[in-house]
Every structure is written in C-alpha cells, then in structure tokens.
Amino acid sequence: MTNILIIGATSAIAEATARLFATQGDKLYLVARRHERLQAVADDLRARGAGQVECEVLDVMEYNRHATVITNAHARLGGLDIALVAHGTLPIQSQCEASFETARQEFEINCLSTLSFLTHLANFFEAQGNGTIAVITSVAADRGRQSNYTYGATKAAVTAFLSGLRSRLHKANVHVLTIKPGFVDTPMTSDFDKGLLWTTPERVASGIYRGIAKKADIIYLPFFWRWIMLVIRLIPERVFKRLAL
C-alpha cells in the first residue's frame, strides 16, 4: 500500500491521478484551498476503494505551514512514499504584461510556493532515504513564447530547479519526476478552443501513474510533445522572434 500526498488535489489532473491510486487501495493526503471541493474528491476516492483519505485545507501562500503539511501527511497516513505537486493557475498573459503585481502573483503561486514545498519535501525524503517527488510543470517551460511567457517562465524555473534536485537526491535513492503536459482540457483551460492536440486529464493521469511506477525523469504528456518541443527549442532565436507562437 502506497502513501501519497497531493498538493492541489482538487485540480482536474490531480483528481484523475488520485483515482488511479484509490482503485489500488492506496492512502491519500489531499491538500487544497476549498473545503467542500476537498470533501467531494475525498468521498469519491473512498468510494473507489482508497485505503484511507485525509484532507487538509491550505492556501499555498501560507508558506509557514508547508513543512507541517508534510509531517501531518506522514503522521496521519502512517508513512509517506509519494508527493505530487499539482497546484497552479493559468494567468492571462496580457494582464501580466500590464501589471507586474499580477505577474508577481503568478510567480508566487506557480513558482515560489512550489519551490518552498520542494525544499521541505527534498529534505524530508532525503532523510528517509527513499520516495518520489512528482511535479507538474508544462511544455511551456521549454521555451518562452510570446503568448504565455510569464506562465512559461514560472514553469521553466521549477523545471530547472527539479533538474538540480534530481541530481542531488539521486544518491539518496529519491526519485524526482518532472511532468510536462501539453494542452489539457480542464477547468483551467475552459476559455480555449479545443483542437486536435488536446488531451484529457484521465490520459495525463495514466501517464503520471506510469511515470512514477517506471521512475521516469521527465515525461511529456502525451508523448508527442517531446518531439514538438524539441523542434521548438531548435529554432534559432532570430527566426523564433518573428513567429507569432
């Protein structure tokens, strides 16, 4: 039986991933901002067969509680094997351009709060000598694009941080997984028109579950984004700057 902590447990991808663990009878510690939504997710996971589900209401901006969330999870589940960091927001790029305050908020939520969790999680798992830290970043991390570079930058910072963390924790037998979804149809992307490249939270969740099981390092979901982003990354800057991507 596996013990999993999920930060941002009411997000669509996190909920879909949690369901996969629940059907295996695993134990889950769910953290999110809204109590009623947490309860709805918890009820669902219990009905699907989760061994145990506990909840804690937290706004990720409460930095002084990050460490205790982890110790609470460990205490209440009786152990901790996997931490999935899945919280985040998708800002409107033009608003971030108009106001640095808006951009700064995005960095707080998508980057700094994540780095704070990672700091505590890394120390925790390193001391334990085993475990998995899985974090959802994005294909947007691979290159800053005109249409969403604030978001991309927050995710790029986390991705680089994870890369270093992976090396540090490798000798402690702790697995660090960077999850890079492409376009996913969730409430976060409800304003977008959906086309051929779009996928569902369920498919992303299967990919995450597999990535954790196989101890992958960096996964692109669906797989074809690895190749799309490779091409995107290879375009020389003097060409890229002219593209309206």
Partner: protein, 440 residues
C-alpha cells in the same frame, strides 16, 4: 476535437451556449441574458430534441462525475448525476452488483436515466430506472436545494423522474443496485415466423426470464409480418470454465458517410440474412453482460451510419387490449412505406408502476425502431404511426422523439399540465417548446 452538443439522432441541429459544471458545491450558473433558458445535458443519448435547447444554454454535467458513497454490503450507490452507467457498472460488477432497469446503452448519465425514466429488457420484472432511485438532490435556479425521495419532497420526486430535466438540475442521486453472482448472462435466442408467435413466446418468457426482447424484421409483409428473433436472458448462476474476455472499448465508426448506409436495398439484405441466421429451435449461449445489454456500444458513433441528415427513432407503447392488432397495423404501415431500420425491437412492458409523473412505460407492448431521415416522407410515416398509437390509447416516448405534434403529445401525456407546475421558470428545452408551444 471540439465536442458537439447534439442528440443521438443528430436531428435537429441546434445551437446552444455551453456551460460546464464541475463541482456540486457551486451554485447553478445562470445565463447572462435574462431571456435565455438552461437545460442540463448528460451524454447526449436522447435521440430527438429533449436534450437540446436551441438558442439557450446547455449545462454540461459530465464534470459532475464523482461518487459520494458505495455501500458494498447492501448495493447502494450515491453519485453525482454526471456519472455514466458504464462507470457504475465497472465499479460495482466486481463486487456482485448490477444496475437495475438498464437501457440499451450504458453510455447515459444517471441524471439522464432519471430524467427520461429509462427502461430496458428487464422492464417486466424490474420496472423503470426511477423505481430504483432512493433519493436525489434537485437544485433549482432560485438556489433552493431539495432532497427528494418517495417520502420527502415526494411531489418533486415524482415530477423529476421522467421530467426531462425541466424541473431543475439533479446534482446527485442514490440508487439501489441488484445482486448478481458474476458478470455473465445465460441467453437463448429463438426464431419465430410471425407476430402471433411473438405474443405466445413472450407470455411464456416473461414469467420465467429476467430479460426478454425481440428483434423484428420491419420489412416483412403479409403473413410474415412480425417475424423475428426472440432473445431471453438471465444472470448466470455459475461461472463458465473459460470466461470470455469482453473489452470495454469500442471500434469507432470513423467517418460520416455522405449518405445513409441504411436504405431499402441494404435493409432488405440485412433483414433476410439476420432472420435466417437464427434457428427456430432455441439456441443457448453464455455471454458477458456487455454484448448482451449493449451490443451497439461496441461501435463508437454508430449513429453516423445514417449520414449527414441523421435519423429519427420512433418508440411507442400500445396497451395490451387490442395490442396485437395495433402492433400489426403499425408494422403494416411501416412495411408498406419501405422505410425502416435493422434495429427494430418489440418488447412487453409489465405492470410495474413508476413513481414518475411523466413516465413513458405503461402496461402494453412497445415497438422501437430507427428511420433514416428522408425529410417529409419520414415525417408523414411517423405521423401516421402516431394516429395508430392515439387510437389505441398508447404513447410515444419523448426521449426518442424529434417530431411528434403538440396535440399528440398532450393526448399521450394528459398529466402534462400538472407536470408543468414543477418546471423551473429558467429551464426549458427544444422538445418542451415544440410540444407545448402551440398552446402558450
């Protein structure tokens, strides 16, 4: 691919704004413009326009897909209304439970199953879906939440079952499951060569078997009218030695052909081959519940086979009194028209009483079939069938209807006016406006 909000018959084509629901704790989203009405939309397996709201808003309920509680001991499941019956079955069958009163597809939401008070091959034993609903929560546009059951808010309970989504949003529901020993069905098929034999066979089968239904050759004429293949089934008591694996996924019907693949030539050929493929003697088999209950679910988007104009389903019920004569008359009119489909089905309804005020099943014989949409010619045939049904004192099923007249609807459902008292002022559907609009 962008999701299209259509009904299963892909007729009529309508245009709606879409609002997706995600959390049962959220308030009901109301449209920004005051004269736009809303309608909950499940998985779009209604055939006609009862799940459509042209010019209005559809509430996509598939985000309400969570379970609330599953009592494995007693077979009671509480879940949000956007959960599909297929998801319920995947969860409960391994624990020895089955969905009572399942319709012919498992790809319907719990909300849709309640709103249409669906029924299936087991109606003569199990009644309708609504008879297995213990309670549900109804959310109205004024923000009121009502938990409805036979003993609490019972009028709302009755109005919402078969209420076509018009009384408000069903947020979650609690259903009673039926116990099974394993996922298999012991089935037997028998060929019969004319309508009278159907009635003889079904009288016997209904008293012995849990599930009964007949496929009918709708092109047969003269003394061959009503010939077909009768299927009966029961949940198996013993596991077979080599269980057949049934894959849940389907083969997609990938493209829409430019015209209907069902025409008089293909239909005649299919019906002849299919009828003769079965035997007069009963042929027994043991099969997984999926191919027994949901054979068409194996082909994703089978509705595309009818081409861009789509198709119309027609399902009616006629009372037992003069039932044989009425069914014969219906089949004669259909055979003469040379229209019709290979999916023609005949079944008897039992005298199970649904709690639903606007419930369709009533004691009698029900006939269901598809017609490729050939425009006026199809509409005229169906109106002519309506006449037979009206004379017999029967009814046509709203969940499948895209064209019945207001006068016919009000004859089939005389209780429509008392039902109308329970309709939420901000809810409406293309169906409701069509069948009551000429009276307003």
């Amino acid at each position: 691919m962008p999701k299209r909000y259509q009904s299963w018959g892909r007729y009529p084509r309508t245009k709606q704004d879409i609002v997706k629901l995600h959390w049962r704790s959220d308030p009901l989203p109301l449209p920004k413009s005051p004269n736009k009405t809303i309608l909950p939309y499940g998985n779009g397996r209604s055939y006609g326009d009862s799940c459509l709201n042209d010019g209005g808003v559809l509430l996509d309920t598939r985000g309400l897909d969570r379970l609330l509680a599953f009592d494995r001991e007693n077979g009671i499941l509480r879940c949000e209304a956007g959960v599909l019956l297929s998801e319920i079955l995947a969860l409960v069958v391994p624990h020895g439970w089955f969905v009572a009163a399942t319709p012919g597809t498992q790809l319907v939401t719990v909300g849709g199953a309640i709103a249409n008070d669906v029924h299936g091959k087991g109606h003569h034993r199990d009644g309708t879906f609504g008879q297995h609903v213990r309670c549900f929560e109804l959310l109205r546009s004024d923000g009121t939440h009502r938990v409805c059951s036979p003993t609490e808010n019972s009028e709302w309970f009755a109005a919402t079952i078969g209420g076509l989504g018009l009384t408000g949003l069903i947020v979650w529901a609690e259903i009673a499951l039926k116990p099974i020993a394993n996922p298999y069905i012991e089935a037997a098929t028998t060929r019969f060569d004319q309508l009278d034999s159907y009635f003889t066979i079904t009288r016997d089968a209904d008293s012995h078997d849990e599930y009964t239904v007949a496929w009918i050759d709708c092109l047969a004429q003269g003394n061959k009218i009503g010939r077909g293949i009768f299927t009966r089934g029961n949940h198996a008591s013993q596991l077979p030695t080599k269980p057949k694996q049934s894959q849940p996924g389907g083969f997609p019907f990938p493209v829409e052909p430019p015209l209907s693949l069902i025409n008089s030539v293909t239909l005649r050929a299919f019906n002849m081959l299919y009828y003769h493929s079965s035997q007069r003697r009963s042929k027994k088999s043991l099969l997984h519940y999926r191919p027994f209950f949901y054979p068409l679910d194996a082909i994703d988007h089978w509705n595309r086979i009818y081409g861009p104009k789509g198709f119309m389903q027609y399902q009616c019920v006629v009372p037992f009194t003069d039932g044989q004569a009425s069914v014969r008359e219906l089949l004669e009119r259909i055979a003469r028209s040379r229209q019709g489909s290979f999916l023609a089905v005949l079944k008897t309804f039992g005298d199970q009483a649904s709690p639903g005020l606007m419930s369709f099943p009533r004691p009698g014989v029900t006939l269901a079939l598809d017609f490729p949409n050939r425009g006026d010619v199809t509409l005229q045939l169906l109106s002519s069938l309506d006449e037979v049904v009206r004379q017999a004192g029967g009814a046509v099923y709203p969940a499948k209807d895209a064209r019945m007249s207001g006068a016919s609807f009000r004859a089939f459902f005389p209780q429509w006016e008392s039902f109308a008292n329970y309709i939420d002022a901000n809810f409406s559907s293309s169906f409701w406006r069509r069948v009551t609009g000429d009276r307003q």
